[in-house]
């Protein structure tokens, strides 16, 4: 069905509105001077070299961001799987409570969760460690793989399960041969959602790291006090690319419209 021209115009305008700040940040990354101006003055790629090669502060921050994002996303998936499976199998009060607890941090203002985590790691002595941040992000983004895996489990074909049961497969065999392969794409989606959001997270990271090490978002926030610089814009460009690639992989692995809750008949 073709859209009315006014509808297409509205969508185009919305896309421009959404893209505008991103385009501006990306273009600013090309600035030759030390100040952020748009359009960029004497465009150069020097800032990219600074960010990825010559300035160890940024390189270290990028490394920290990547390690934290990958490990917290992996942990979140590993923890979300049994929870989602339990809810799907039995749907009893205990499993529902567990799922609700797991979704809590994502639903409430992150600044409050950050403050609470700060207190918790302070009391347990983990404040400022790598592990504290990884576990914190795991908790914060646990809800994402939990949701995608649950959607995946609900979409497992009942006929396959009945057939397996008729032929005498135990739940463990059914899990391995039928459920796992069918839910894998949704698991991957959950992983990428958690990874990308962890990569971009700021406020919880701020309270948990306690200035003992920094990630890219923290580093940017710290440099913010001296005004924005083009090197920070390079960081932004990197982030946008990582996000776009992550979600393209999600779309490739699974049916993105369905994952986002579109109707299934189309």
């Amino acid at each position: 069905m073709r859209l009315h021209w006014a509808a297409r115009l509205f969508m185009a305008l919305a896309a421009i509105g959404v893209a505008m700040p991103i385009v501006v940040v990306m273009a600013s990354a090309l600035n030759g001077g030390r100040t952020m101006t748009f359009p960029p003055q004497d465009p150069t790629l020097d800032r990219f070299v600074e960010f990825f090669v010559s300035q160890p502060v940024w390189r270290a921050a990028l490394w920290n961001s990547v390690v934290v994002a990958l490990s917290s996303a992996a942990l979140a998936v590993l923890l979300a799987w049994p929870i989602a499976y339990w809810v799907w199998r039995e749907n009893d009060r205990a499993s529902k409570t567990l799922a609700a607890m797991a979704a809590l941090p994502f639903a409430l203002p992150p600044i409050v969760f950050g403050v609470g985590l700060g207190f918790m790691w302070q009391v347990t002595g983990g404040l400022g460690t790598y592990w504290a941040l990884i576990l914190s992000h795991t908790a914060l983004f646990l809800a994402l793989p939990l949701v995608t895996i649950s959607i995946g489990l609900q979409s497992v074909d009942r006929a396959h399960l009945d057939a397996a049961a008729t032929m005498g497969a135990t739940p463990a065999v059914t899990l391995r041969t039928i459920i796992l392969p069918q839910v894998m794409p949704y698991t991957a989606s959950g992983f990428f959602f958690a990874m990308v959001l962890s990569f971009n997270e700021f406020i919880v990271t701020f309270f948990v790291t306690s200035s003992s090490f920094s990630t890219v978002t923290l580093q940017i926030f710290n440099s913010l006090r001296n005004g924005f610089t083009p090197t920070m814009a390079v960081a932004a460009v990197t982030f946008i690319f990582v996000s776009a690639i992550g979600f393209s992989i999600v779309a490739r692995f699974s049916d993105l419209p369905r994952l986002m809750g579109a109707d299934q008949t189309k």
Binding site: V24, F119, A139, F228, F247, M260, A262
Partner: protein
């Protein structure tokens, strides 16, 4: 899982007696404990710390007193003197969040409606684009709008170069803008202003708005729309009599959820809001890690923000669930 593992599992499954049950029980108990520790305990700790008090320097001790809460509602010098400084901050939190949430939903609604009319592959491309911007850190979004609204290379410059600034000076619009803090004597300026704050906040949640409205709009029964069209209803009539009534609840639910999400915004408010018009999130940050350093009082403010958020979230859940069977 290797073959011996499967055999092991079969042994357990085959004997629904003590061994299988207890192994499963232990695993589930461990999972409960872990999730409780990392997801729920932090919130409990905030409550516990909020009952303590600050001691010399930046340290604090446990306690059981409500002075932090009375300070929030009536000020530290009460009953001699009454101060509503923190209530005002809470008010600003609600004020920015409500305008930005409504703005985001109002603009995202028609967009999402058109999006669901597109072919599926096109929908997937739009969703990738939106998800990429959605995941974008608050820090970058603020950075982008900071440049877009800056005097040197942003909107004020564009308005000046196009002659709109001079035109506005001639007909009183400029004076109106100055009176509302949107201009300095020579130019329009948007930093710091409520306009810039709310605009950036609406931008932050706009992709969320689309994603929240996408399922209900996508599942809407199109035969109803077509039937109405066949019977001669005009597009606006269809919108008013068929579409809006069916998605009224999701619309309200989405607005509430975005509102809750926006209550905790930190970077956008700290950069774009006037120092006298800042929110409770800024205040929490200052108490816990910033300039004022009074962790128990920061914790008390967190509890109040949490209760506010929780109340609205519950309201949203009630509205959304009322429709489900």
């Amino acid at each position: 899982m290797s073959a011996p593992d499967a055999d092991l599992a079969r042994t357990f499954e085959g004997r629904p007696g003590r061994v299988g049950l207890s192994l499963q029980g232990v695993l589930r108990g461990l999972m409960m404990a872990l999730v409780c520790l990392i997801c729920v305990v932090p919130f409990g700790l905030i409550l516990a710390v909020s009952l303590g008090h600050k001691v010399e320097g930046a340290a604090w001790v446990w306690g059981f007193e409500f002075s932090n809460y009375t300070r929030f509602f009536v000020g530290a010098l009460w009953p001699e003197q009454w101060s509503d400084l923190y209530l005002q901050k809470l008010e600003y939190s609600l004020y920015y969040a409500v305008i930005a949430a409504v703005l985001a939903v109002l603009t995202a609604f028609p967009f999402t409606w058109f999006l669901t009319r597109l072919p599926r592959a096109a929908q997937a491309r739009w969703l990738i684009f939106l998800l990429s911007t959605l995941s974008l850190s608050e820090v970058f979004v603020v950075m982008g709008w900071d440049i877009l609204l800056s005097n040197k290379s942003g909107l004020p410059m564009v308005l000046r170069e196009l002659g709109i600034t001079d035109w506005a000076k001639g007909n009183g619009i400029f004076d109106w803008a100055r009176a509302n803090g949107l201009a300095n004597p020579r130019d329009f300026k948007f930093k710091t202003s409520v306009f810039a704050t709310v605009l950036t906040m609406a931008y932050l949640v706009w992709p969320y708005a689309v994603i929240l409205l996408y399922p209900p709009l996508s599942r809407l029964d199109h035969s109803m729309v077509e039937a109405a069209r066949t019977m001669g209803a005009r597009p606006m009539q269809v919108m008013r009599t068929v579409i809006l009534p069916t998605v009224r609840l999701p619309l309200i639910g989405a607005t509430l959820l975005l509102f809750v999400l926006l209550l905790g915004v930190y970077v956008a408010v700290s950069v774009f809001a006037d120092p006298a018009q800042q929110t409770i999130a800024i205040s929490i940050y200052d108490e816990v890690r910033g300039a004022t350093l009074n962790a128990p009082f920061g914790a008390a403010q967190s509890v109040i923000l949490l209760l506010t958020a929780g109340a609205f979230l519950l309201l949203g859940q009630l509205i959304l669930n009322r429709r489900a069977p």
